[in-house]
Symmetry: C2
Subunit: 405 residues, 2 copies
């Protein structure tokens, strides 16, 4: 059951960006498992990709093709085309070639994306057979259908949309994402697509995407397992009648960046809310770090601790497990006697021990909530990082024990 994730909001169409959905029957007959996205000529495209050394064939191809003025994004679910060696690369390229022929562009102008089971060869002929239907279906209003088309173990589609005034124009930013397990993105998560009709130079767009990913997709974790297929793409179609944004030091950039960051955070958090077996949405904030890395080390030690995650599932304010995770995070010369821990606004640990005024009922009240913030103050410096994660429930074990059956 997703935590605090409702039906899709209105997803405004983005001029210069159309989406088409079709069924290739990759894993189940009739399932809408193919999404084609068409990008207007002259658009800027930025991408961030998984850092997993075993990245999937489409990720490798995508990294190459993004240099060649991409016009189409081709996504399939049901098969990750990862761990498939040379045949996997050939299959991915064949699907790009086929879409390129149908649309009269170069194969290098097609970006492939796959998600699903690892280690099975992509059935390229099935994908190719579904391409004409996907192209027929292209429509700027098909964001919601595409959000469903990219789902795997997700229980709900995920999307976000904003409109901002920029340079006298109303600019739209719309995005979708998917993911529910194997989630500890390291660059981005499989899969996020965000498009805007703003005009943005590619290097600026790439820098913006990287920064926004570091504040959103790169700050969520469900199970600590970085996927082989993570990709997040940001498209600026440039269809709006505005001056191109070519530097980061102007007001238009700031406004656009702020809206894009907000959308990406919403999309990233939606993945956590729909995390496999999630019954809690947990914000972990680490304050007072001596540097960024130690804040993240502490945050992830807490976020990945199976003992903390099971305590969250049980709504048990077992603060000892939080201290134990902070203590093993590898922070050099950590002075445990300065550490404070809060559950929402309740101080449970002060100076490394149970806070004097704390009574268990206060902790129990917070832990019973669906949304909880664990705030840890290291009192060593001014750095601060925030992560989002879930609990560890019976349902997580069931989903992942039964995934291939």
């Amino acid at each position: 059951m997703p935590v605090g994730l409702g039906p899709l909001p209105v997803l405004h169409p983005v001029p210069g960006f159309r989406l088409g959905i079709a069924s290739a029957g990759i894993k189940r007959a009739g399932r809408k498992d193919i999404v084609v996205m068409e990008v207007a000529e002259g658009a800027s495209i930025a991408g961030v990709f998984t850092l997993n050394a075993f990245c999937a064939a489409p990720v490798t191809l995508c990294r190459e093709h993004i240099q060649h003025a991409p016009r189409y994004l081709l996504v399939n679910t049901g098969n990750a085309n990862a761990g498939t060696g040379k045949p996997g690369m050939q299959a991915a390229f064949q699907t790009c070639e086929a879409l390129a022929q149908l649309t009269q562009v170069q194969a290098q102008q097609v970006l492939p994306f796959s998600t699903g089971v690892i280690g099975e060869l992509l059935p390229a002929t099935k994908v190719i057979a579904a391409l004409p239907a996907a192209l027929d279906n292209l429509d700027a209003n098909h964001w919601a259908q595409a959000a469903e088309g990219i789902m795997t173990t997700d229980t709900l589609p995920k999307g976000a949309s904003r409109q901002v005034d920029l340079d006298g124009q109303t600019i739209t930013i719309t995005g979708i994402s998917k993911g529910a397990g194997m989630i500890k993105p390291n660059m981005a998560t499989m899969l996020g697509y965000i498009a805007t009709d703003a005009k943005v130079a590619q290097p600026v767009l790439q820098a913006l995407l990287r920064e926004a990913a570091d504040l959103s997709f790169n700050r969520i974790t469900i199970d600590g397992d970085t996927s082989t297929n993570d990709c997040c793409m940001l498209v600026a179609t440039g269809q709006a009648a505005m001056t191109e944004i070519s530097t980061t030091d102007n007001a238009d950039y700031q406004q656009l960046a702020s809206a894009i960051k907000s959308i990406m955070l919403e999309l990233a958090q939606a993945i956590v809310r729909d995390g496999e077996g999630a019954t809690k949405f947990v914000t972990i904030q680490v304050n007072g770090g001596g540097n960024r890395d130690e804040c993240l080390d502490v945050g992830y030690a807490v976020a990945h601790s199976p003992l903390i995650k099971t305590a969250l599932f049980a709504s048990d304010p077992n603060w000892g497990r939080i201290l134990a995770a902070v203590g093993r995070a590898g922070v050099p010369d950590l002075d445990v006697e300065r550490i404070d821990v809060y559950l929402d606004d309740v101080c449970i640990t002060r100076n490394g021990g149970r806070a004097e005024e704390y009574v268990e009922e206060q902790g129990a009240r917070i832990m019973a909530q669906e949304e909880i913030t664990i705030c840890i103050d290291l009192a060593r410096g001014d750095f601060q990082e925030t992560l989002w994660t879930t609990d560890l429930s019976h349902e997580y074990v069931r989903i992942n024990a039964e995934y291939r059956t």
Copy 2:
């Protein structure tokens, strides 16, 4: 249900080492929760302790007291006395003082150990009240009772014993251990006690313990959560009529070291076999590493992956999840096209992709076993490391969600 862990073997008494058990009613009335161990005068004692920065009060005291010719070890279960600040230190010291008074030694000659719930103050008066009964119970034949006395969520007591001929004498080595959750020891695991009547100089004993811990307790993981209370103690009472071992480069040392390593490995593996919710005993061997750390990084990435652990629970040979974990382990410039993966003797991945001759039935047959070896060859060098771990089952979630209820 423990995996391949039977009843305790015969635990030979060690001359110069006696054990007494009593009930202090710390968590439950009547439970045998106090173990006192008496060490003959002149013994050598070595210890390794948790690296968790939030180490428990008794660990801090123990590190100090071990310098002062310890005569008694005092263990309680039901309360970890961790995260308890100055009052916790005082409570731990009070129990040492009380035992010292009863036995006419210095308080600094008592080593305290605690295991149980974190964050609750140790009820020192209850512990102290039980000390006379524990002392009355001291007996060289009480190893099995002590193995039960130190249990927490363990389902079975854990012990091992060997006799070797050394310098014309029959030397005994006997040890016990406990632990089932919050297990990723980083120095040792809470708790291991090994005693021998061999005569060994303290610096040699300490070096031996460190080396043996690195091959045993420091190579097991159940949930990746390093405890605040891990301790492993090695006592050489020196009661045997033999020449003291004062260097590592002689045959007696080698023989003793080999027996002690073998006992510690058995005790460490017993902890994994009795891991919380364990249905599998899994050996992870990483070969061909460029150095020790990258072997361990890969091994722990696999051992801690919730996706691999749930696949193990489900007996699903989902090798894609193994590749994904290897790929995210952070090994620099990893050439994934050289990596082979075996399940026992079945090659499932060759050169980074599914092995051509592999059929799923082979993998399924291995995964159905209770004991499984996952062997990963990185083909980058000559380093090799082995770890032991368990699967992630519904039972793990249940035990840890309900721990404090």
